[in-house]
Symmetry: C2
Subunit: 257 residues, 2 copies
DNA sequence: ATGTATAATATGTATGACACAATAATTGAA
DNA sequence: TTCAATTATTGTGTCATACATATTATACAT
């Protein structure tokens, strides 16, 4: 392995320095969420730099999700949500995704989600039960051919359980999984166009367990649900591999007759 | 609860549009990592906008980690790493951290890491074994009073196991956990200044299991290791709570004599 | 071929200007 | 006096221009 050195960028740009400065202020709670920052002009004066530098710094901060720029109104410290915090993940996975992520994702789901479900059973509020019931109703009313909606509801169900666990780190941990699922589902549907979803029944049993605060049942039912989904995913992988293989054969025969 | 709607910012700024445009090109692989983008001037011409708009767009893209701006040289499409992808997480957790995250993090670690360790035992390469051995040696040589280094090595060990699992989603999933651990460790050390770490022994047993490809043992040993760490963490929580309580009492008596 | 000096290039920063929407201030009506 | 409509002000969005300075390429000398 040949190591490589990165170029040394000695003098940081002004805008970066401004970014770091403001970022530090936010981290140190000198600037609190919702608070309005000084105007561009004032910032220019404070840092003794041009508006160019200040504006570029503010754009970077907004791209990072630390501030919100309200057009022609002002710059405000943003109350970062977990969703924004992991927004970069979506882009990353969009770029790096490949088909064997399907198995990897399901392995992880099998490991984590039953536990999360148990915690949900232990800590769920009545409000979350209500939300989950609503979700189930919507799924019941969803026409079987409307895959789009069904996927959304399925995802929502699992995310609501993550929230119901009352462990604030769980949604962060599961974010990569949830980011990848739409793509995985799309792949499943393109290769098994007329697969039938049994999500509704599984969700019903899971919700019942959570409702009754039956931690063991919640764990078990979620385990069963994910195992079933994983099985489906495995079938898809097989089909994709077979198709790829067939394609390969076809190519070989045409290339070297 | 009165809901509130956020203002709709219809006319997106020019720089935003440019960002979306270039972002799309990167996502569609029209621009590949390492590739140099046109110069600012050329981009101005292509989009028919001022240099201001282009520059602000480029700054946002660089803040998002999609491009790297080399000073006075050019703008290059960045090959996003998973670390960059979740860089926003660090900021978020810095802002949101509170003491009960300790328990939440350990709950999650108990749920996930044994599984990850099992996968590592199944899929580990000889290279990863070597790396893990090196880590263990360094930890053995680490003086017990050097908490800083020990923490780093401990974290490294767990991250290396995550990598050894050969599941590319695992490091992403565990990122929030690893982001929080330094802070948690710092808290432990401030409240139990002379606690003694038994990490070395546990790590030894874990590595042995992985080396022998003994999946069950790997699972079990990691489970034991994390359970032990969680126990310590619980003690710390107790101590903190007691201190807080004592402080509370003190305040009460001084305020209302 | 290697190293140095020069020129061309691209980004970094500053300044000034103006459009336009959002807010604040003012005015007018009930 | 209170509320609504109008006007004024403010602050951001965008453009144009200029120059500084570091990087890269070119040419030249050794």
């Amino acid at each position: 392995m040949s190591i490589s050195f990165n170029r040394i960028q000695r003098p940081v740009t002004l805008s970066q320095e401004i970014v770091e400065n403001i970022e530090r202020s936010i981290l140190e709670r000198k600037l609190v969420p919702g608070q309005k920052l000084p105007t561009e002009q004032e910032l220019c004066a404070m840092f003794s730099v041009s508006r160019t530098a200040v504006r570029e710094a503010l754009r970077m901060l907004s791209a990072k999700g630390l501030v919100t720029i309200k057009k022609r109104s002002g710059i405000f410290v943003n109350d970062m949500t977990s969703t924004e915090a992991v927004s970069g993940l979506g882009l990353y996975l969009e770029l790096k995704f490949e088909k064997d992520y399907i198995l990897h994702v399901f392995n992880i789901r099998q490991a984590i989600e039953p536990h999360v479900c148990r915690w949900a059973a232990a800590n769920r509020s009545t409000a979350s039960i209500w939300e989950l019931e609503k979700n189930l109703l919507k799924m019941k009313d969803c026409p079987p051919e409307d895959r789009e909606t069904e996927s959304l509801l399925d995802q929502e169900f699992h995310q609501m359980i993550a929230a119901a666990s009352k462990n604030p780190v769980v949604p962060l941990v599961l974010q990569p999984v949830f980011s990848l699922m739409p793509r995985i589902r799309a792949m499943v549907y393109t290769h098994i166009p007329n697969c039938v979803s049994a999500a509704l029944e599984y969700h019903r049993r899971i919700l019942d367990a959570i409702k009754q605060r039956d931690e063991e049942a919640a764990f078990r039912e979620m385990q069963i649900h994910i195992a079933n989904a994983a099985e489906q995913a495995n079938e898809v992988i097989d089909i994709i591999d077979k198709k790829a293989h067939a394609q390969d054969e076809a190519n070989r025969t045409t290339v070297s007759p």
